[in-house]
Amino acid sequence: MDYVLKAEALTKIYGHHKALDNFSMHIPKGAIYGLVGKNGAGKTTLLRLICGLQEATSGDYTLYGVSSRKHEILNARKEMGAVIETPAIYLDMSATGNLKEQYRILGIRSFDTIPELLKMVGLGNTGRKKAKNFSLGMRQRLGIAIALVGNPRFLVLDEPINGLDPQGIIEMRQLLLNLNQQYGMTILVSSHILDELSRLATHYGFIDNGKMIKEISASDLENSFRKSVRIEVTDGKALAAVLEQTGQPYKILAPNVIEVYNRVNISHLTADLEKYQCDVLSIQEREENLENYYVNLIGGISHE
């Protein structure tokens, strides 16, 4: 498989804190790679290293097969665009002015494609309005437009839907899918909004405490989602005791609500609960989603 980015044993230490610890990652060409992790897990540190803002303490990564330790990495980065943390824009310039700057930085002489680019990110009507007067969402869009200058083959986005309104989120999703599907752009997206990420990503990487916990493709992830039954009863302790006796895997969601990860024989269960004078209030069949998967993988109370 062709990889745009491969990281091996990447470690980054700030003082006494290990932000990345022996971190490994593999982003296939043409993927939308969702990087998932809680605050402080090391996502932004990783993006900073990839973009050349900081150097790893040890370990290495390759971009298009070029090692980060080699000088040629600078050439490999020419095919890259990124928005890390806050959008990097000159606040005293208009959207067009900001894009012109980036065109000059990349040595693109003609500004003809600027209106098209602005239209693509939904900033076609900003005119001479300065970026300091933009809303957070507009700044985010402008940051992405700047990252798209020069048609990069690899796009790195840190929380790209931060500050966007619902319509903006839909447009951004469409834009990223379009860039990926029509132009074959590989996209690395870090996000906390798992529901949104699950509509985009073709691959996932789960990071915690600076370590890669798991890398999985979206199709494999979907196959691994477990079916479950959510049961609400009048006495949660009684239900837990019955499930323990029958050896069913379960998770307590609330004092009287339990999720069981197995097929449940309802007749037997109600009969068993009868002995504890416990009533069943409701039963729902459910399928696991990215959020459940993430919580199970990274942490949470579980009795499996």
Partner: protein
């Protein structure tokens, strides 16, 4: 490198602070020349005010560069350059060159003010053109040396507001310390002590006494080197080198290449150190 230079240069032209400083320096040149012109009845020498701007270049560089380069960090746009594969040395040099050009243009705006008033009111240069040209080269290098020091500070300090304060303080410290050193070095070795005077107050017996404020020996040599090495020291001497009768500081006339050498040394040292530290800098 050319791409970065073009981008940084266009950005400089759009900076309001650059145009404000340019206009202020031009106005100061007009004011200085007009002052000299108003004191002379006909045909006056503009030599005395040609380099009066030099001591202020430290402050000008501090204000402009801390705001111009600082916005790369405060707006985060330095990341856009690194992400697309520009090396840190290229980014540093592009900023240094553009800031140097800006400082030189601002100092030339002062000269333009002097020339405008001088030519319209019949002012002229008494000093030989070759000497004035050499002093002009020295003043340009002083401006670049100031730019080089302030660029180093701005590229290494990610806090824009903090860097404005630090740069201004440094510029003031350099100005005040160089002024003090220049003043102490200008103290005469001996002074006249009037032993007796006649009835109309004219001294009849004068004896020469050693001046306790005069600095000699190694201390003098060190202070002279410091005064010539620091751009603020050169700026003070340049500003005071001419009067209405032409050049008064024979040091510049005799050995201008030493000044040029010192300025180049400051530029190379600060830029070399700045680039080395910037290459290791962690950017957020």
């Amino acid at each position: 490198m050319n791409r970065l230079f073009a981008s940084t240069f266009f950005r400089m032209l759009k900076k309001i602070v650059f145009w404000i400083l340019l206009i202020c320096m031009f106005a100061y040149g007009v004011y200085s020349a007009s002052n000299v012109a108003s004191e002379a009845s006909a045909g006056f020498a503009i030599d005395g005010c040609v380099f009066e701007f030099a001591p202020f270049m430290g402050l000008v560089a501090a204000v402009f560069i801390s705001l111009f380069v600082g916005s790369e960090y405060s707006d985060g746009t330095i990341r856009n350059k690194l992400v697309v594969g520009h090396s840190r040395m290229q980014i540093y040099l592009a900023n240094l060159i553009v800031c140097s050009i800006a400082c030189v243009l601002i100092s030339l705006a002062y000269a333009a003010g002097i020339i405008m008033v001088g030519s319209s009111k019949g002012g002229e240069l008494l000093t030989e053109t070759s000497i004035v040209s050499m002093c002009l080269i020295c003043s340009v290098l002083v401006s670049i040396a100031f730019a080089s020091i302030m660029t180093m500070l701005a590229m290494l300090n990610t806090n824009k507001a903090g860097n404005v304060v630090v740069s201004m303080i440094l510029a003031l410290v350099l100005l005040v310390s160089s002024s003090y050193i220049y003043q102490r070095l200008g103290e005469p070795e001996m002074y006249d002590n009037y032993v007796s005077v006649n009835e109309v107050g004219v001294p009849t017996q004068v004896e020469q006494l050693p001046n306790p404020l005069y600095i000699d020996g190694t201390s003098r040599t060190v202070l002279e080197v410091v005064n010539d090495l620091f751009p603020s020291g050169q700026a003070m001497q340049l500003a005071d080198a001419f009067d209405s009768e032409g050049i008064t500081n024979k040091g510049i006339e005799n050995d201008p290449y030493q000044w040029i050498g010192y300025s180049l040394l400051v530029i190379l040292l600060t830029s070399g150190m700045g680039i080395a530290l910037f290459r290791k800098k962690e950017i957020r």
